[in-house]
C-alpha cells in the first residue's frame, strides 16, 4: 500500500464506530504489516500516570511479557521517549547489548532477533497520550520517509486516544452534573430533613457506584435524634476507618482519603477505598460525608476527581441543610404568627360577642324584673283556687327560669381570674376519669391511657382545667352515644416559643362534619338538641387564659382528637435552636 492509501485507511478506521481497543488493534495490525514490523505496541498511562503496555497487533509475541510491567515517565527507553516527547530509533548497528532487559528480564534471549526498534511519542501539541513502539525482525533500516510517515501516524493514533479520553471524561462529567442536579433539586425541596438525608445518601451511592455512603451529623442539627444516615452496609472491619476518616475530615476541614490515614495498608490489604469530606458551613463543621467504593483491579473507583466531586457534594449538602434549617424556622415562625393572629381574632370575636351578650342580657333583665315583679304582686291579690292563679304561677316560673339563664350568661361572659397551682396532669386525669366513669352511662366506654411518666408539671387552675376536660370527655361520650373507645395520651411537646405538656383525647364517635368544624369553638354553636354550645367556647377561653391552646385533629367518619397544650411550669424560651 502506498503511504497515502495507508494513511487514508488508518483515518477511516480511526473515525469508525468500532470499540476503541479493536480500532487501535486494527490500526496496529495495518502498521505492523505495512511497515514490516513484527511488533506494533502502544503504551498508555494508567490512573497513576505510569506507562503500561495496553495495545498490540494481533501477532505480537512480546505483548504478554511487556504488559506485566509498568514504568514511570523518564524510566527506560519508553519512559525517556515520553519525557522528551521525541522519537528514538535503533537500527542493527546501534542496538545496545541486552537492550530492554533491565526492565523486562523475561526479554533476555529474545531481543537479539530484532534488528530494528522505533519508539514514537503519541502526542499532540499540548498533551502526551502514550508511546508507540515498533520492533522488526525482517528489516534493519528506516528511511527518512518512513520516519515522517510514522510521525504522522503517531499523531493520528494520539488523536484517537485523545478523543476517547475526552468522551470518557465528558461522560463522567455529565453523570456528575446529573447527580449534582438531582441533589440540588432534593436540597431545595421542602422535604423533611430526615428523608432528605436518606435520599441524598442513596443518590450519591447509586451515582458513584459506592458500597456505602454515610452522612454523619455531629451538630445538634434540626432536632434530629438519629445522627447517622447511611445507604448500604458498613462492614465492621471498615467501621473504625470510617470513624478515623470522619475525625480527620472534621479536624483538617478538607476532604481526606484512606491514603491519608493508613498509607501503608492502603496499597495491598485494602479491598476498599474510602473518602470523607466535611460538611461545613461558615467554618462550622456540621458533619461529614463518607463514601466507600470497592477497588477495581489496580485502579480505584474514586480517583482525584471523585474526591473533588465528594467535596462539591458535601458543600451542596451544607448549604442545603442551612436552607432546610432556615425553611423550618421560617415555617415555624409563620405558623406561630398565624396561630397568634387566629387567637387574637378569636379573642376579639369573643370579647365583642361577650360585650354584646352582656348588654342584651342587661336589656332583657329590666323588663323581666318588671314582668315578674308585678306578676308577683298580682299573685298576692288573686284567689288561690282560681285558674288565673295557675297561669300566674306559670308566668312566674318562666320568669325565674329566664332570670337564671341570664345570670348564667352574664357570669360566663365575665372574666374569671386564674387560681394557679402546680399540677401533675397524669394524676389529675386519673382523678377526673375516676369520677366520670363511676357513672353507669360510662360502662360501655373503654378508656385507653398512655401517659408520659416523666411529664413536666404545669401551673394551672385545676377547677377550670377540670371544666375543660369534663367538657371534652362529655362531648366524646355524647358523640359515641355511650359506646366506644376514648384514648388519652400525655406527652411533652417542644415549640420555639417554649415547651408544653400535651393532653390528647381521641374518641371513636365519627368525627365532625368538616363543613362545621370551624364553628365548634364559637359560643352557642351546637348541633345537639339540648346543648348550649358553650362547652368548647368556655374550654378554649380557659386554655387561652393559661397561655396554652387547643388543637383539633378530625378524621371525618372516624373520630376526633382534641389536643390541649399547656405551658410547662417555668419554661425557658429557646431563642435559638442551634
Amino acid at each position: 500500500m502506498n503511504p497515502v492509501d495507508l494513511l487514508g485507511k488508518i483515518i477511516e478506521i480511526s473515525h469508525s464506530n468500532i470499540e476503541l481497543s479493536s480500532r487501535i488493534t486494527s490500526i496496529l495490525n495495518i502498521i505492523s504489516r505495512d511497515m514490516n514490523a513484527e511488533e506494533a505496541i502502544i503504551y498508555t498511562f494508567d490512573k497513576d500516570r505510569r506507562l503500561s503496555c495496553r495495545y498490540a497487533n494481533q501477532k505480537s509475541v512480546l505483548f504478554k511479557i511487556l504488559n506485566q510491567y509498568r514504568c514511570h515517565v523518564g524510566e527506560g527507553v519508553v519512559g525517556s521517549v515520553a519525557q522528551k516527547r521525541s522519537p528514538l530509533f535503533f537500527t542493527k548497528r546501534d542496538i545496545p547489548p541486552r537492550f530492554g532487559c533491565l526492565f523486562y528480564p523475561d526479554l533476555d534471549g529474545r531481543i537479539e532477533n530484532y534488528k530494528l526498534f522505533a519508539f514514537l511519542p503519541l502526542a499532540d501539541d499540548s498533551y502526551l497520550y502514550g508511546v508507540l513502539a515498533l520492533c522488526a525482525v525482517s528489516r534493519d533500516t528506516l528511511h527518512d520517509a518512513d520516519k515522517v510517515f510514522l510521525s504522522i501516524l503517531s499523531r493520528e493514533v494520539g488523536g484517537i486516544l485523545r478523543s476517547y479520553e475526552l468522551i470518557l471524561s465528558s461522560k463522567k462529567r455529565i453523570s456528575e452534573l446529573a447527580t449534582l442536579t438531582e441533589l440540588g433539586k432534593m436540597l431545595t425541596s421542602n422535604a423533611e430533613p430526615r428523608e432528605l438525608l436518606k435520599n441524598i445518601a442513596l443518590v450519591i451511592a447509586k451515582s458513584l457506584n459506592a458500597t456505602f455512603v454515610t452522612i454523619m451529623l455531629g451538630y445538634p442539627f434540626l432536632k434530629l435524634d438519629a445522627q447517622r444516615f447511611t445507604y448500604g452496609i458498613i462492614e465492621p472491619s471498615v467501621q473504625d476507618h470510617v470513624e478515623e476518616l470522619e475525625g480527620a475530615a472534621t479536624r483538617l476541614l478538607r476532604a481526606v482519603s484512606i491514603k491519608d490515614c493508613a498509607p501503608d495498608e492502603y496499597e495491598d490489604s485494602f479491598k476498599y477505598t474510602l473518602f470523607s469530606a466535611p460538611i461545613a458551613s461558615k467554618n462550622r463543621v456540621l458533619g461529614t460525608l463518607t463514601i466507600c467504593a470497592e477497588k477495581t483491579g489496580q485502579s480505584y473507583a474514586l480517583g482525584e476527581d471523585g474526591q473533588y466531586l465528594i467535596s462539591t457534594i458535601a458543600n451542596y449538602i451544607s448549604s442545603g441543610l442551612e436552607n432546610t434549617l432556615l425553611n423550618t424556622r421560617l415555617r415555624d415562625a409563620v405558623r406561630e404568627l398565624n396561630d397568634a393572629q387566629k387567637r387574637l381574632i378569636e379573642q376579639e370575636k369573643f370579647r365583642s360577642l361577650g360585650e354584646m351578650t352582656a348588654s342584651i342580657a342587661h336589656e332583657i333583665k329590666n323588663p323581666l324584673v318588671i314582668i315578674g315583679g308585678f306578676t308577683k304582686r298580682l299573685a298576692r291579690q288573686v284567689d288561690i283556687d282560681r285558674t288565673e292563679n295557675k297561669y300566674i304561677r306559670i308566668i312566674l316560673n318562666e320568669v325565674t327560669r329566664l332570670e337564671s339563664i341570664l345570670n348564667e350568661v352574664l357570669n360566663y361572659v365575665k372574666e374569671t381570674p386564674l387560681v394557679a397551682e402546680t399540677c401533675n396532669i397524669n394524676d389529675y386525669l386519673d382523678e377526673i376519669l375516676y369520677l366520670l366513669t363511676s357513672d353507669s352511662s360510662w360502662e360501655e366506654i373503654e378508656i385507653s391511657r398512655s401517659y408520659n411518666q416523666g411529664l413536666s408539671l404545669v401551673a394551672c387552675d385545676s377547677q377550670q382545667l377540670k371544666q375543660v376536660l369534663i367538657n371534652i370527655f362529655i362531648n366524646a361520650h355524647e358523640a359515641m352515644h355511650g359506646r366506644g373507645t376514648i384514648t388519652i395520651q400525655t406527652k411533652q411537646a417542644a415549640y420555639e416559643n417554649g415547651s408544653f405538656v400535651a393532653i390528647s383525647i381521641s374518641d371513636t364517635g365519627g368525627g365532625i362534619d368538616p363543613a362545621i368544624i370551624d364553628n365548634i369553638f364559637n359560643p352557642f354553636f351546637t348541633t345537639k338538641e339540648r346543648g348550649t354550645g358553650l362547652g368548647l367556647a368556655i374550654s378554649n377561653k380557659i386554655i387561652m387564659n393559661h397561655k396554652g391552646h387547643i388543637d383539633v385533629e378530625n378524621v371525618a367518619g372516624k373520630g376526633v382528637t382534641f389536643i390541649i397544650y399547656l405551658p410547662v411550669k417555668n419554661h425557658t424560651t429557646k431563642e435559638e435552636l442551634l
Binding site: A361, I370, F374, K376, L396, L410
Partner: protein, 119 residues
C-alpha cells in the same frame, strides 16, 4: 316609729313603680328619682334614711352618683341595685352599704334595706 324615708333611683319608670309599691307595702316612705342628678338634687333638699341606686342610667350613672352622695355625706346609706351581677365582686372598692342583683323577687332587696336600717 316614724316611717323610714327611702329614695329609689332608676331610669326605668316601671322599675321605680314596682319598687315603690313593694317598699311602701313594707311601710317605707318612698320617693323617686330617674337619674343620678335628680337624686343628688333631692338629697340636697331633704333627708333620706336610705338610697336604692341603679347602676346603668343615662346622664350620671349609679357609680358616679354613689361617689357624689358619699362625698357630700359619708354616712348616707346607699344600696346598689343592678342587673349586673358581676359588679358585686368589686363591692369592696366601692363605698356602698349593700349590693342587690335586680330581680323580680324583691325579698333580697327588702331584707338588705331592713338590715342596714337595723329593723
Amino acid at each position: 316609729m316614724k316611717n323610714a324615708k327611702i329614695l329609689v333611683v332608676d331610669d326605668e319608670e316601671n322599675i321605680r313603680l314596682l319598687f315603690k309599691e313593694e317598699l311602701e307595702e313594707e311601710g317605707f316612705d318612698v320617693d323617686l328619682a330617674s337619674n343620678g342628678l335628680e337624686a343628688l338634687d333631692k338629697l340636697k333638699k331633704g333627708r333620706f334614711d336610705l338610697v336604692v341606686l341603679d347602676i346603668k342610667m343615662p346622664g350620671m350613672d349609679g357609680i358616679q352618683a354613689l361617689n357624689e352622695i358619699k362625698n357630700a355625706n359619708k354616712d348616707q346609706p346607699v344600696v346598689l341595685c343592678s342587673a349586673y351581677g358581676e359588679f358585686k365582686q368589686d363591692l369592696s372598692s366601692w363605698v356602698s352599704d349593700g349590693y342587690v342583683v335586680k330581680s323580680a323577687d324583691t325579698r333580697e332587696l327588702k331584707q338588705t334595706i331592713k338590715n342596714i336600717l337595723g329593723l
